[in-house]
Protein backbone atom coordinates (compact mmCIF):
# COMPACT_ATOMS: atom_id res chain seq x y z
CA UNK A 1 0.00 0.00 0.00
CA UNK A 2 1.50 3.27 -1.04
CA UNK A 3 1.11 5.55 1.92
CA UNK A 4 4.00 7.74 0.83
CA UNK A 5 3.01 10.96 -0.87
CA UNK A 6 4.04 12.04 -4.31
CA UNK A 7 5.17 15.44 -5.44
CA UNK A 8 3.58 17.83 -2.96
CA UNK A 9 5.38 19.05 0.15
CA UNK A 10 4.96 16.69 3.06
CA UNK A 11 3.67 18.40 6.19
CA UNK A 12 3.32 15.44 8.53
CA UNK A 13 5.42 12.32 8.14
CA UNK A 14 4.82 9.21 10.23
CA UNK A 15 7.29 6.33 10.08
CA UNK A 16 6.74 3.03 11.83
CA UNK A 17 4.55 4.68 14.44
CA UNK A 18 3.54 2.19 17.11
CA UNK A 19 1.71 2.75 20.38
CA UNK A 20 1.58 0.20 23.17
CA UNK A 21 -0.41 0.64 26.34
CA UNK A 22 0.62 -1.27 29.43
CA UNK A 23 -2.26 -3.21 30.96
CA UNK A 24 -1.80 -4.54 34.46
CA UNK A 25 -1.22 -8.30 34.67
CA UNK A 26 -1.78 -8.77 30.95
CA UNK A 27 0.11 -8.44 27.72
CA UNK A 28 0.46 -4.87 26.44
CA UNK A 29 -2.30 -3.67 24.17
CA UNK A 30 -0.97 -2.53 20.82
CA UNK A 31 -3.21 0.33 19.75
CA UNK A 32 -1.30 1.48 16.68
CA UNK A 33 1.09 -0.78 14.83
CA UNK A 34 3.75 0.48 12.45
CA UNK A 35 1.89 3.26 10.67
CA UNK A 36 3.67 4.95 7.77
CA UNK A 37 1.81 7.97 6.46
CA UNK A 38 2.59 11.23 4.72
CA UNK A 39 0.12 14.10 4.93
CA UNK A 40 0.67 16.72 2.27
CA UNK A 41 0.64 20.43 2.92
CA UNK A 42 -2.89 21.88 2.80
CA UNK A 43 -4.38 18.46 2.37
CA UNK A 44 -7.54 17.41 4.14
CA UNK A 45 -6.88 13.84 5.14
CA UNK A 46 -9.47 11.69 6.91
CA UNK A 47 -8.78 8.55 8.91
CA UNK A 48 -11.63 6.07 9.24
CA UNK A 49 -11.65 2.80 11.09
CA UNK A 50 -13.70 0.69 13.47
CA UNK A 51 -14.02 1.95 17.04
CA UNK A 52 -11.00 1.14 19.15
CA UNK A 53 -8.69 0.90 16.12
CA UNK A 54 -6.30 3.51 17.43
CA UNK A 55 -7.18 6.30 15.00
CA UNK A 56 -7.64 8.84 17.79
CA UNK A 57 -4.49 7.54 19.49
CA UNK A 58 -2.59 8.22 16.29
CA UNK A 59 -4.02 11.74 16.15
CA UNK A 60 -3.01 12.37 19.79
CA UNK A 61 0.52 11.26 18.96
CA UNK A 62 0.67 13.73 16.06
CA UNK A 63 -0.59 16.34 18.52
CA UNK A 64 2.20 15.40 20.91
CA UNK A 65 -0.23 14.56 23.72
CA UNK A 66 0.81 10.91 23.74
CA UNK A 67 4.31 9.60 23.15
CA UNK A 68 5.03 7.15 20.39
CA UNK A 69 6.27 3.78 21.63
CA UNK A 70 8.21 3.16 18.45
CA UNK A 71 8.86 5.02 15.23
CA UNK A 72 8.67 8.76 14.79
CA UNK A 73 6.41 11.55 13.67
CA UNK A 74 7.88 14.53 11.88
CA UNK A 75 6.15 17.85 11.31
CA UNK A 76 7.98 19.99 8.75
CA UNK A 77 10.87 17.59 9.18
CA UNK A 78 11.10 18.14 12.94
CA UNK A 79 10.41 15.34 15.33
CA UNK A 80 7.29 15.76 17.49
CA UNK A 81 8.21 15.68 21.19
CA UNK A 82 5.18 17.38 22.72
CA UNK A 83 2.19 19.61 21.99
CA UNK A 84 2.84 22.81 20.05
CA UNK A 85 0.92 25.80 18.82
CA UNK A 86 1.70 24.77 15.23
CA UNK A 87 -0.84 21.94 15.67
CA UNK A 88 -4.32 23.00 16.76
CA UNK A 89 -6.76 20.39 17.96
CA UNK A 90 -10.54 20.07 18.07
CA UNK A 91 -12.10 17.31 20.18
CA UNK A 92 -15.39 15.44 19.84
CA UNK A 93 -16.72 16.87 23.09
CA UNK A 94 -15.42 20.38 22.36
CA UNK A 95 -13.32 20.78 25.54
CA UNK A 96 -14.16 24.47 25.75
CA UNK A 97 -13.12 26.18 28.96
CA UNK A 98 -16.54 26.31 30.64
CA UNK A 99 -15.56 29.19 32.92
CA UNK A 100 -14.75 31.46 29.96
CA UNK A 101 -17.24 33.15 27.65
CA UNK A 102 -17.26 32.56 23.91
CA UNK A 103 -15.04 35.60 23.37
CA UNK A 104 -12.67 34.66 26.19
CA UNK A 105 -12.37 31.11 24.88
CA UNK A 106 -11.36 32.40 21.46
CA UNK A 107 -9.02 34.95 23.08
CA UNK A 108 -7.37 32.31 25.25
CA UNK A 109 -4.60 31.23 22.90
CA UNK A 110 -3.93 34.82 21.78
CA UNK A 111 -3.48 35.87 25.40
CA UNK A 112 -1.23 32.91 26.13
CA UNK A 113 0.91 33.92 23.15
CA UNK A 114 0.95 37.55 24.36
CA UNK A 115 -0.50 38.95 21.13
CA UNK A 116 -1.02 42.73 21.32
CA UNK A 117 -4.48 43.73 22.47
CA UNK A 118 -5.60 45.51 19.29
CA UNK A 119 -4.64 42.53 17.15
CA UNK A 120 -6.22 40.16 19.63
CA UNK A 121 -9.55 41.93 19.51
CA UNK A 122 -9.49 42.19 15.72
CA UNK A 123 -8.75 38.47 15.29
CA UNK A 124 -11.45 37.49 17.76
CA UNK A 125 -14.07 39.69 16.13
CA UNK A 126 -13.18 38.32 12.73
CA UNK A 127 -13.45 34.72 13.92
CA UNK A 128 -16.75 35.29 15.68
CA UNK A 129 -18.06 36.63 12.37
CA UNK A 130 -16.55 33.67 10.50
CA UNK A 131 -18.37 31.13 12.67
CA UNK A 132 -21.59 33.16 12.68
CA UNK A 133 -21.82 33.69 16.42
CA UNK A 134 -22.15 37.47 16.57
CA UNK A 135 -24.34 38.37 19.50
CA UNK A 136 -23.12 35.39 21.52
CA UNK A 137 -19.72 36.83 22.48
CA UNK A 138 -20.43 37.14 26.19
CA UNK A 139 -22.27 33.87 26.64
CA UNK A 140 -20.84 30.89 28.52
CA UNK A 141 -20.47 27.53 26.71
CA UNK A 142 -23.25 25.94 28.80
CA UNK A 143 -25.73 28.22 27.05
CA UNK A 144 -24.73 27.05 23.56
CA UNK A 145 -25.97 24.11 21.48
CA UNK A 146 -23.52 21.37 20.49
CA UNK A 147 -23.01 22.80 17.02
CA UNK A 148 -22.34 26.25 18.40
CA UNK A 149 -19.86 24.85 20.92
CA UNK A 150 -17.97 23.08 18.17
CA UNK A 151 -17.85 26.30 16.14
CA UNK A 152 -16.32 28.06 19.12
CA UNK A 153 -13.82 25.22 19.57
CA UNK A 154 -12.80 25.53 15.93
CA UNK A 155 -12.52 29.33 16.21
CA UNK A 156 -10.48 29.01 19.41
CA UNK A 157 -8.01 26.82 17.55
CA UNK A 158 -7.96 28.97 14.41
CA UNK A 159 -7.28 32.08 16.53
CA UNK A 160 -3.61 31.23 16.95
CA UNK A 161 -3.44 30.26 13.27
CA UNK A 162 -1.88 26.79 13.52
CA UNK A 163 -0.56 25.32 10.28
CA UNK A 164 -2.10 21.97 11.10
CA UNK A 165 -5.61 21.31 12.32
CA UNK A 166 -6.15 18.00 14.09
CA UNK A 167 -9.79 17.00 14.44
CA UNK A 168 -10.86 14.10 16.62
CA UNK A 169 -14.35 13.01 15.50
CA UNK A 170 -15.31 16.69 15.69
CA UNK A 171 -18.91 16.22 14.58
CA UNK A 172 -19.50 12.86 16.23
CA UNK A 173 -21.44 14.33 19.13
CA UNK A 174 -23.80 16.33 16.91
CA UNK A 175 -27.17 15.38 15.46
CA UNK A 176 -27.30 14.44 11.77
CA UNK A 177 -28.57 17.78 10.49
CA UNK A 178 -26.12 19.84 12.51
CA UNK A 179 -23.35 17.51 11.37
CA UNK A 180 -24.09 18.22 7.71
CA UNK A 181 -24.14 21.96 8.34
CA UNK A 182 -20.86 21.74 10.24
CA UNK A 183 -19.24 19.74 7.44
CA UNK A 184 -20.14 22.56 5.06
CA UNK A 185 -18.77 25.06 7.55
CA UNK A 186 -15.50 23.19 7.77
CA UNK A 187 -15.15 23.09 3.99
CA UNK A 188 -15.93 26.79 3.78
CA UNK A 189 -13.39 27.67 6.46
CA UNK A 190 -10.81 25.34 4.99
CA UNK A 191 -11.28 26.95 1.57
CA UNK A 192 -10.80 30.40 3.11
CA UNK A 193 -7.73 29.55 5.16
CA UNK A 194 -5.79 26.71 3.67
CA UNK A 195 -4.46 24.40 6.32
CA UNK A 196 -3.31 20.85 6.62
CA UNK A 197 -6.19 19.01 8.24
CA UNK A 198 -5.99 15.57 9.79
CA UNK A 199 -9.48 14.40 10.51
CA UNK A 200 -10.54 11.29 12.44
CA UNK A 201 -14.08 10.02 11.95
CA UNK A 202 -16.10 6.83 11.99
CA UNK A 203 -18.50 8.29 9.42
CA UNK A 204 -17.38 7.07 5.99
CA UNK A 205 -19.71 9.38 4.13
CA UNK A 206 -18.33 12.35 6.03
CA UNK A 207 -14.79 11.29 5.20
CA UNK A 208 -15.55 11.04 1.48
CA UNK A 209 -17.38 14.36 1.36
CA UNK A 210 -14.66 16.29 3.14
CA UNK A 211 -11.32 14.65 2.56
CA UNK A 212 -8.86 14.66 -0.31
CA UNK A 213 -7.68 11.23 0.76
CA UNK A 214 -9.22 8.73 3.13
CA UNK A 215 -7.05 6.38 5.18
CA UNK A 216 -8.78 3.14 6.20
CA UNK A 217 -7.44 1.54 9.35
CA UNK A 218 -7.73 -2.06 10.48
CA UNK A 219 -9.20 -3.25 13.76
CA UNK A 220 -6.77 -3.29 16.70
CA UNK A 221 -3.82 -3.28 16.37
CA UNK A 222 -4.43 -0.32 14.06
CA UNK A 223 -2.58 -0.53 10.76
CA UNK A 224 -3.24 1.21 7.48
CA UNK A 225 -5.39 -1.02 5.28
CA UNK A 226 -6.01 1.24 2.32
CA UNK A 227 -5.70 4.84 1.20
CA UNK A 228 -8.44 6.03 -1.11
CA UNK A 229 -8.30 9.17 -3.17
CA UNK A 230 -11.63 10.91 -2.73
CA UNK A 231 -10.90 14.01 -4.79
CA UNK A 232 -12.42 12.50 -7.93
CA UNK A 233 -15.74 12.20 -6.09
CA UNK A 234 -15.85 15.90 -5.33
CA UNK A 235 -17.84 18.15 -7.61
CA UNK A 236 -16.17 21.50 -8.35
CA UNK A 237 -18.52 23.06 -5.87
CA UNK A 238 -18.23 20.25 -3.35
CA UNK A 239 -19.75 22.12 -0.45
CA UNK A 240 -23.17 22.06 -2.05
CA UNK A 241 -23.20 18.40 -2.99
CA UNK A 242 -24.20 16.02 -0.25
CA UNK A 243 -24.95 13.01 -2.41
CA UNK A 244 -23.77 12.03 -5.85
CA UNK A 245 -23.11 8.72 -7.65
CA UNK A 246 -19.37 9.38 -7.30
CA UNK A 247 -19.63 9.88 -3.55
CA UNK A 248 -21.78 6.77 -3.20
CA UNK A 249 -19.25 4.77 -5.18
CA UNK A 250 -16.37 5.94 -2.97
CA UNK A 251 -18.33 5.22 0.20
CA UNK A 252 -18.97 1.68 -1.06
CA UNK A 253 -15.34 1.23 -1.99
CA UNK A 254 -14.27 2.22 1.53
CA UNK A 255 -16.93 0.01 3.07
CA UNK A 256 -15.55 -2.95 1.20
CA UNK A 257 -12.28 -2.41 3.06
CA UNK A 258 -13.92 -1.61 6.35
CA UNK A 259 -16.60 -4.29 6.69
CA UNK A 260 -14.34 -7.12 7.90
CA UNK A 261 -12.49 -4.79 10.25
CA UNK A 262 -15.68 -3.61 11.91
CA UNK A 263 -16.78 -7.22 12.41
CA UNK A 264 -13.37 -8.06 13.87
CA UNK A 265 -13.46 -5.04 16.19
CA UNK A 266 -16.87 -6.12 17.46
CA UNK A 267 -15.59 -9.60 18.22
CA UNK A 268 -12.59 -8.09 20.04
CA UNK A 269 -14.90 -5.98 22.12
CA UNK A 270 -17.11 -8.95 22.98
CA UNK A 271 -14.07 -11.00 24.02
CA UNK A 272 -12.56 -8.24 26.13
CA UNK A 273 -15.81 -7.48 27.94
CA UNK A 274 -16.48 -11.16 28.70
CA UNK A 275 -12.88 -11.53 29.86
CA UNK A 276 -13.23 -8.59 32.19
CA UNK A 277 -15.39 -10.54 34.59
CA UNK A 278 -12.66 -13.13 35.25
Amino acid sequence: MNAIAGSNAVKIRARGVTKRFAVRRRADVIAVDGVDLDVEENELLAIVGPSGCGKSTFLYMVGGFLEVSEGEILVDGRRVTGPGTDRGIVFQHFALFPWLTVRENILYGLRERKVAEAEREATTAELIALIGLRGFEDVYPKQLSGGMKQRVAIARTLAIDPEILLMDEPFGALDAQTRTVMQDELLRIWNQRKKTVLFVTHDVHEAVRLADRVVVMTARPGRIKAIIDAREAHAPDAANVRESPEIARKVNEIWEHLRDEVALAQRQEAVSSSGRGG
Binding site: T85, F91, H93, A95, P98, G135
Partner: protein, 270 residues
Protein backbone atom coordinates in the same frame (compact mmCIF):
# COMPACT_ATOMS: atom_id res chain seq x y z
CA UNK B 1 -31.36 38.67 19.73
CA UNK B 2 -28.84 36.43 21.45
CA UNK B 3 -30.78 36.65 24.65
CA UNK B 4 -33.93 35.25 23.03
CA UNK B 5 -32.23 32.26 21.54
CA UNK B 6 -30.60 31.50 24.84
CA UNK B 7 -33.55 31.81 27.11
CA UNK B 8 -34.97 28.33 26.50
CA UNK B 9 -33.52 27.21 29.81
CA UNK B 10 -35.10 30.10 31.67
CA UNK B 11 -38.50 30.05 30.01
CA UNK B 12 -38.83 26.36 30.71
CA UNK B 13 -38.72 27.07 34.40
CA UNK B 14 -42.29 27.46 35.54
CA UNK B 15 -43.34 30.38 37.67
CA UNK B 16 -43.47 29.04 41.21
CA UNK B 17 -46.92 29.64 42.77
CA UNK B 18 -46.49 31.94 45.76
CA UNK B 19 -48.02 29.49 48.25
CA UNK B 20 -45.33 26.99 47.32
CA UNK B 21 -42.44 29.42 47.44
CA UNK B 22 -42.02 29.07 51.19
CA UNK B 23 -42.93 25.41 51.53
CA UNK B 24 -39.51 24.78 53.05
CA UNK B 25 -40.63 26.50 56.26
CA UNK B 26 -43.92 24.61 56.59
CA UNK B 27 -42.48 21.59 58.35
CA UNK B 28 -40.60 23.80 60.80
CA UNK B 29 -43.75 25.80 61.54
CA UNK B 30 -45.76 22.61 62.02
CA UNK B 31 -43.28 21.17 64.51
CA UNK B 32 -43.11 24.46 66.42
CA UNK B 33 -46.90 24.61 66.55
CA UNK B 34 -47.24 21.03 67.81
CA UNK B 35 -44.51 21.68 70.36
CA UNK B 36 -46.20 24.89 71.55
CA UNK B 37 -49.56 23.13 72.00
CA UNK B 38 -48.06 20.06 73.65
CA UNK B 39 -46.12 22.18 76.09
CA UNK B 40 -48.99 24.59 76.83
CA UNK B 41 -51.42 21.73 77.45
CA UNK B 42 -48.80 19.95 79.60
CA UNK B 43 -48.89 16.99 77.22
CA UNK B 44 -45.15 17.15 77.63
CA UNK B 45 -43.63 18.51 80.82
CA UNK B 46 -43.14 22.25 80.19
CA UNK B 47 -40.18 22.25 82.58
CA UNK B 48 -38.23 19.87 80.35
CA UNK B 49 -39.62 21.16 77.07
CA UNK B 50 -40.66 24.83 77.42
CA UNK B 51 -42.90 26.19 74.67
CA UNK B 52 -41.23 27.96 71.70
CA UNK B 53 -42.96 31.21 72.65
CA UNK B 54 -41.19 31.06 76.03
CA UNK B 55 -37.91 30.51 74.24
CA UNK B 56 -38.49 33.68 72.25
CA UNK B 57 -39.14 35.54 75.49
CA UNK B 58 -36.00 34.01 76.98
CA UNK B 59 -33.95 34.96 73.89
CA UNK B 60 -35.18 38.57 74.09
CA UNK B 61 -34.46 38.67 77.81
CA UNK B 62 -30.93 37.30 77.36
CA UNK B 63 -30.27 39.72 74.52
CA UNK B 64 -31.41 42.71 76.59
CA UNK B 65 -29.21 41.54 79.46
CA UNK B 66 -26.30 41.43 77.02
CA UNK B 67 -25.97 37.69 77.62
CA UNK B 68 -26.67 36.28 74.18
CA UNK B 69 -25.07 38.31 71.39
CA UNK B 70 -21.49 38.25 72.77
CA UNK B 71 -21.71 34.45 72.97
CA UNK B 72 -23.08 34.18 69.46
CA UNK B 73 -20.45 36.61 68.18
CA UNK B 74 -17.62 34.63 69.75
CA UNK B 75 -18.89 31.33 68.32
CA UNK B 76 -19.41 32.85 64.86
CA UNK B 77 -15.96 34.46 64.72
CA UNK B 78 -14.21 31.30 65.89
CA UNK B 79 -16.07 29.16 63.36
CA UNK B 80 -15.34 31.59 60.52
CA UNK B 81 -11.69 31.79 61.56
CA UNK B 82 -11.39 28.01 61.62
CA UNK B 83 -13.13 27.70 58.22
CA UNK B 84 -10.84 30.27 56.61
CA UNK B 85 -7.72 28.67 58.07
CA UNK B 86 -8.90 25.22 56.97
CA UNK B 87 -9.47 26.58 53.43
CA UNK B 88 -5.98 28.07 53.30
CA UNK B 89 -4.31 24.89 54.53
CA UNK B 90 -6.63 22.29 53.00
CA UNK B 91 -6.80 23.74 49.49
CA UNK B 92 -3.07 24.39 49.18
CA UNK B 93 -2.13 21.00 50.57
CA UNK B 94 -4.70 19.27 48.36
CA UNK B 95 -3.34 20.97 45.24
CA UNK B 96 0.24 20.23 46.27
CA UNK B 97 -0.67 16.55 46.71
CA UNK B 98 -2.23 16.37 43.27
CA UNK B 99 0.75 18.07 41.63
CA UNK B 100 3.86 16.96 43.52
CA UNK B 101 4.58 13.25 43.84
CA UNK B 102 6.71 13.64 46.97
CA UNK B 103 3.98 15.58 48.78
CA UNK B 104 1.42 12.97 47.75
CA UNK B 105 3.68 10.13 48.87
CA UNK B 106 4.11 11.73 52.28
CA UNK B 107 0.60 12.97 53.01
CA UNK B 108 -1.68 10.47 51.29
CA UNK B 109 -1.40 7.76 54.01
CA UNK B 110 -1.55 10.36 56.77
CA UNK B 111 -4.73 11.88 55.37
CA UNK B 112 -6.30 8.44 54.89
CA UNK B 113 -5.54 7.51 58.48
CA UNK B 114 -6.48 10.91 59.87
CA UNK B 115 -9.81 11.24 58.10
CA UNK B 116 -11.73 8.78 60.29
CA UNK B 117 -9.83 9.71 63.48
CA UNK B 118 -12.05 11.45 66.08
CA UNK B 119 -10.14 14.73 66.15
CA UNK B 120 -12.09 16.00 69.18
CA UNK B 121 -10.25 13.36 71.23
CA UNK B 122 -7.11 15.45 70.78
CA UNK B 123 -8.72 18.24 72.80
CA UNK B 124 -6.59 17.68 75.95
CA UNK B 125 -3.43 17.98 73.88
CA UNK B 126 -4.62 21.09 72.07
CA UNK B 127 -5.45 22.67 75.45
CA UNK B 128 -1.96 21.88 76.73
CA UNK B 129 -0.42 23.36 73.60
CA UNK B 130 -2.62 26.38 73.00
CA UNK B 131 -4.40 27.10 76.30
CA UNK B 132 -8.09 27.38 77.10
CA UNK B 133 -8.93 30.39 74.94
CA UNK B 134 -9.63 31.00 71.26
CA UNK B 135 -6.53 29.34 69.84
CA UNK B 136 -7.11 25.77 71.00
CA UNK B 137 -10.75 25.86 69.81
CA UNK B 138 -9.94 27.36 66.42
CA UNK B 139 -6.90 25.18 65.79
CA UNK B 140 -8.62 21.93 66.70
CA UNK B 141 -11.57 22.81 64.45
CA UNK B 142 -9.18 23.83 61.65
CA UNK B 143 -7.30 20.57 62.06
CA UNK B 144 -10.48 18.50 61.89
CA UNK B 145 -11.91 20.41 58.91
CA UNK B 146 -8.67 20.33 56.93
CA UNK B 147 -8.87 16.55 56.37
CA UNK B 148 -12.04 16.37 54.27
CA UNK B 149 -11.02 19.55 52.46
CA UNK B 150 -7.57 18.21 51.52
CA UNK B 151 -9.26 15.09 50.19
CA UNK B 152 -11.85 17.03 48.19
CA UNK B 153 -9.24 19.38 46.72
CA UNK B 154 -6.83 16.56 45.91
CA UNK B 155 -9.48 14.58 44.03
CA UNK B 156 -10.78 17.69 42.23
CA UNK B 157 -7.35 18.81 41.01
CA UNK B 158 -6.23 15.28 40.16
CA UNK B 159 -9.22 14.46 37.98
CA UNK B 160 -9.26 17.46 35.65
CA UNK B 161 -10.50 16.45 32.18
CA UNK B 162 -7.42 15.62 30.09
CA UNK B 163 -8.98 17.16 27.00
CA UNK B 164 -9.09 20.55 28.75
CA UNK B 165 -5.41 20.21 29.63
CA UNK B 166 -4.54 19.14 26.09
CA UNK B 167 -6.52 22.02 24.60
CA UNK B 168 -4.64 24.46 26.80
CA UNK B 169 -1.29 22.89 25.91
CA UNK B 170 -2.04 23.16 22.18
CA UNK B 171 -3.02 26.81 22.72
CA UNK B 172 0.34 27.60 24.26
CA UNK B 173 -0.12 27.14 28.02
CA UNK B 174 3.04 25.74 29.55
CA UNK B 175 3.26 23.17 32.33
CA UNK B 176 3.77 25.75 35.06
CA UNK B 177 0.95 28.12 34.10
CA UNK B 178 -1.43 25.17 33.71
CA UNK B 179 -2.08 24.98 37.44
CA UNK B 180 -3.61 28.43 37.67
CA UNK B 181 -5.01 28.80 34.14
CA UNK B 182 -6.80 25.46 33.92
CA UNK B 183 -6.42 22.97 36.78
CA UNK B 184 -7.46 25.26 39.61
CA UNK B 185 -10.35 26.77 37.69
CA UNK B 186 -11.67 23.40 36.60
CA UNK B 187 -11.43 22.18 40.21
CA UNK B 188 -13.25 25.17 41.73
CA UNK B 189 -16.75 23.57 41.77
CA UNK B 190 -15.57 20.49 43.70
CA UNK B 191 -13.35 22.55 46.00
CA UNK B 192 -16.37 24.75 46.81
CA UNK B 193 -18.38 21.61 47.58
CA UNK B 194 -15.60 20.58 49.96
CA UNK B 195 -15.69 23.98 51.65
CA UNK B 196 -19.46 23.82 51.98
CA UNK B 197 -19.31 20.40 53.64
CA UNK B 198 -16.95 21.62 56.36
CA UNK B 199 -19.17 24.54 57.43
CA UNK B 200 -21.50 22.45 59.65
CA UNK B 201 -18.49 20.49 61.00
CA UNK B 202 -16.84 23.75 62.00
CA UNK B 203 -19.88 24.94 63.98
CA UNK B 204 -20.34 21.58 65.68
CA UNK B 205 -16.70 21.46 66.73
CA UNK B 206 -16.50 25.05 67.92
CA UNK B 207 -19.61 24.63 70.10
CA UNK B 208 -18.23 21.34 71.40
CA UNK B 209 -14.87 22.83 72.36
CA UNK B 210 -16.67 25.74 74.01
CA UNK B 211 -18.71 23.27 76.03
CA UNK B 212 -15.48 21.63 77.18
CA UNK B 213 -13.70 24.81 78.19
CA UNK B 214 -16.05 27.44 79.55
CA UNK B 215 -15.58 31.20 79.07
CA UNK B 216 -17.40 33.00 76.27
CA UNK B 217 -19.28 31.29 73.45
CA UNK B 218 -22.60 29.53 72.91
CA UNK B 219 -21.19 26.16 74.03
CA UNK B 220 -20.12 27.58 77.39
CA UNK B 221 -23.44 29.37 77.80
CA UNK B 222 -25.26 26.09 77.17
CA UNK B 223 -23.10 24.13 79.65
CA UNK B 224 -23.51 26.73 82.37
CA UNK B 225 -27.29 26.91 81.87
CA UNK B 226 -27.47 23.12 81.90
CA UNK B 227 -25.80 22.96 85.29
CA UNK B 228 -28.46 25.35 86.59
CA UNK B 229 -31.23 23.29 84.95
CA UNK B 230 -32.06 26.40 82.90
CA UNK B 231 -33.51 24.53 79.94
CA UNK B 232 -34.88 27.63 78.11
CA UNK B 233 -31.36 29.09 77.95
CA UNK B 234 -29.91 25.76 76.78
CA UNK B 235 -32.45 25.65 73.96
CA UNK B 236 -31.89 29.31 73.07
CA UNK B 237 -28.18 28.48 72.81
CA UNK B 238 -28.79 25.47 70.60
CA UNK B 239 -31.15 27.39 68.32
CA UNK B 240 -28.67 30.29 68.24
CA UNK B 241 -25.92 27.95 67.05
CA UNK B 242 -28.25 26.47 64.42
CA UNK B 243 -29.13 29.91 63.12
CA UNK B 244 -25.46 30.88 62.85
CA UNK B 245 -24.61 27.68 61.00
CA UNK B 246 -27.61 28.04 58.74
CA UNK B 247 -26.68 31.65 57.91
CA UNK B 248 -23.10 30.71 57.00
CA UNK B 249 -24.31 27.76 54.90
CA UNK B 250 -26.65 30.09 53.00
CA UNK B 251 -23.80 32.58 52.57
CA UNK B 252 -21.76 29.72 51.10
CA UNK B 253 -24.54 28.86 48.65
CA UNK B 254 -24.86 32.50 47.63
CA UNK B 255 -21.11 32.86 47.04
CA UNK B 256 -21.07 29.58 45.11
CA UNK B 257 -23.75 30.79 42.73
CA UNK B 258 -21.81 34.04 42.24
CA UNK B 259 -18.52 32.26 41.56
CA UNK B 260 -20.05 29.56 39.35
CA UNK B 261 -22.21 31.67 37.02
CA UNK B 262 -20.57 29.77 34.19
CA UNK B 263 -21.47 26.35 35.57
CA UNK B 264 -24.32 24.12 34.36
CA UNK B 265 -25.74 23.99 37.86
CA UNK B 266 -26.35 27.77 37.98
CA UNK B 267 -29.57 28.29 36.10
CA UNK B 268 -30.80 31.80 36.88
CA UNK B 269 -28.57 33.91 34.69
CA UNK B 270 -30.93 36.83 34.38
Amino acid sequence: MAANALSDRTTRQRETPSWLAYRAVYSVVLVLLAWEIASRTALINPFFMPAPSLLVVQAVKLTLQGELLPHMGATLLRALGAILLAIAIGVSLGIAMARIAAVRWFFDPLISLGLPTPKIALWPIFVLWFGFHDQSKIYLTTFACAFPLVSATYLATRDVDRYLLWSARALGTGERRMLWKVIFRAAVPDILTGIQTIIPFAFILIVLTEMLSGGIGLGSMIMLAGRLADIPTVLVGVIGASILGFAVIRLGEYLRARVLVWHEETTDHA
